[in-house]
């Protein structure tokens, strides 16, 4: 397909909790180069639901270093259109449109590297972290990993059993500590702390597990608010920003629909060409550019992947979501066109 999607067959599926299912894909030999991935990257899937095209990005939950198939793990979002569609409808043998792996939140193993990795995850934020942890255990033998993992209760922990197995098999190279907000009285599951992964929990975690390898790296993946909390707590302990790597996942953070886009006109520079595109009220910049017949880059359409990013040279927009952007991206005028609604009548947008 010329639009970047490839048809992949679902090898098998596996329920990992009551709310989450893993899907493994068969990648034909001819596509193995295109579908080579790094731990932490995600896939964009496309579906037509009730005749409407929808796209979502999901983190790959398996390491590229073990030879295991490409896999995503999708947790149901309450009322979520796509996550429920996938959990309800997709089964082994189905053909799904998938875009090649993408994303800058990733971990490349170094065979002789020696690092201490701290992972802070919550809910389905475990999926990219799980791929990273497996990668370290398989492909970076001198490194160790410490995971603080937040969930509502023992039953909602994704990869609970596989994490126990990994801990037991790797002679202290992995330590997992569970943090539960509402542990059940009936459960015999032993967890580390009650509450959230906040500054106090983070300080205690590092205190109990100080780095042995001194090249310490910190990876955070949780709902939007958690990443800010963890980053601030780490900075408060003197961790340099360059060692902190974060990714939000969009599903649990509702888009900011407080601002309505106005009717506008934008100039667009794309692939060396210049065009002028009208934008109707409420329409995102990306949709307007596509409607004009041009082929701008885009992928997830939910502000997670960053594929549609562009430079805003003039005018102002409201971003409904901006997970894929760092603060410094925003300061430099980078926007996610799929989430950008005009708030001034004239815009100028420039793609890379």
């Amino acid at each position: 397909m010329g639009d970047g999607f490839h048809q992949l067959r679902v090898l098998d599926t596996c329920a990992v909790t009551e709310q989450a299912t893993s899907f493994r894909f068969a990648v034909p030999t001819g596509l193995s180069g295109a579908f080579r991935w790094l731990a932490g990257q995600h896939l964009t899937l496309r579906f037509w639901i009730d005749g409407v095209e929808v796209r979502r990005s999901y983190s790959i939950s398996e390491t590229p270093s073990s030879g295991d198939p490409l896999r995503i793990t999708v947790k149901r979002v309450e009322g979520g259109l796509v996550s429920n569609h996938i959990n309800d409808r997709i089964t082994a043998g189905d053909i799904v449109d998938v875009m090649p792996p993408f994303g800058g939140f990733c971990l490349e193993p170094e065979p002789k590297g020696r690092r201490t990795y701290y992972f802070f995850g919550a809910g389905s934020g475990i999926t990219p972290l799980y791929a990273m942890i497996r990668t370290i255990l398989v492909a970076e033998p001198y490194s160790v990993a410490y995971l603080a993992y937040g969930n509502a209760n023992a039953d909602s922990i994704i990869f609970r059993e596989p994490l126990v197995d990994l801990e037991n098999q790797t002679e202290g190279r992995l330590v997992v500590r569970h943090v539960l907000t509402s542990p059940s009285w009936m459960s015999s599951f032993s967890y580390w702390r009650r509450g959230r992964i906040d500054a106090e929990a983070i300080a205690a975690f590092i205190d109990e597990h100080p780095p042995y390898a001194q090249d310490a790296q910190y990876y955070v993946c949780g709902p939007g608010g958690m990443n800010t909390t963890v980053r601030a707590a780490l900075q408060g302990l003197g961790v340099p920003d360059t060692r902190i790597h974060t990714e939000s996942y969009g599903a649990s953070e509702p888009p900011d629909d407080s601002v309505n886009g106005i009717t506008a006109t934008t100039s667009v520079r794309l692939n060396g060409a210049s065009l002028v595109v009208p934008i109707s009220a409420g329409q995102a910049v990306l949709d307007a550019v596509r409607a004009s017949g041009a082929n701008p880059p885009y992928s997830c359409e939910s502000g997670v992947c960053g594929a549609c990013r562009a430079h805003l040279r003039n005018g102002k927009v409201h971003l409904r979501a901006r997970m894929a952007l760092t603060d410094s991206d925003v300061e430099r005028g980078i926007i996610l066109t799929c989430q950008a609604l005009p708030t001034t009548p004239q815009l100028a947008v420039e793609y890379d």
């Binding site: 590297g113 020696r114 001198y142 042995y212 001194q214």
Partner: protein, 381 residues
Amino acid sequence: MGTNRGMPILPVSAYTSQEWFDREQERIFSRTWAFAGFAEDITEPGQYISVQAGLNNIFVVMGRDRRLRAFHNICRHRGTQLLRAVGQTQRAIVCPYHDWTYDLEGCLISVPAQEREFPELDLSKITLRRASTDLWRGMLWVHPDENAGSIMQWFGDVEPFLGPHKVEELVEYKEGRTEYDVRANWKIVVENYIDGYHLAHLHSGTLAMYDHSRIKAEFIGPHYAFWEPLSADYAENLEKNAPYPLVIPTEQAGAWVPMLFPGIGLGESESSWSLFHVTPLAPDLTRVVIRTRVADVSSWEFTRQSFRSFGFWSKRIGGKYEGDGDDPMASGDFTKEDIYACEQQQRSLKSPYFVHGPSSVEGEAGVRGHQELVRDWVGDG
């Protein structure tokens, strides 16, 4: 080649001249990972140590995130040494000279009377020179280059040739720390350490508990791996005969005695673990610090073990020659025997009649290998 086997590889001047000494300091000891202490030397945020590593003085400090940072111990103002040997600081490092102050990331954060004295100075442009640090095998290491890379690029290949000891779990004891200033070049001290040929002879009365006929030794990169098994009579009743409580499982008993480059010897045996740290002080003067760790058990266990093994050792340990206690060759102490041999060699280098003699096939292969290594690192000019 004959019995010389390529010797001499290094000229006599390599062991006697200030010029060689200076080149080694610059090209070997200032460009490699250096031993800086043990993990327990820095255990709390703010604690620091400083060490001399070749030409560099480097300090290591623990941040509140419990990660160690290493910096060159030089104020970016006038070059004053910032921190003394050991101590505690909290959030800042203050130069004693003009109170220039740095945070634990090495960033300059304050300069007294800045508005008047340094109105044009951009503090954010000035940081301490970073170095590298890491823990490996319970030991603290520093490297002067902040981009030194992973310490396992340096030690990873030799690690499988080391003992199964868990160094962090063993404890250092006061009497286990000894220091010698040896009147010999550091290479003579190292060559003696890796010479397998002398063990059965110089140490005939002191190291008979190991089977020197079954040595396995080879260079792994720049590091010399060395292993020998216990002698048969010692191994036969090891639990009783060991001088101290065992530190590794009986079935793995043996001695790993590697010489890590440059000049970091380990002595990893069935009942103790020790570091043999060689520091060149002058062309003909070398400091050797030996730090020994043993099983973390009660002193009663040590007393009991020394009682049990007394009979075995009293028959086996003694000087090579009869003599009084001042004679190293009568001391019954293998370190004193080694120092004696090293100092005698160094003295002979001054004799106009000295020439290098033949070199043994196996036992002295390591000596030749180390000389080639030093030659390659120091280069020609």
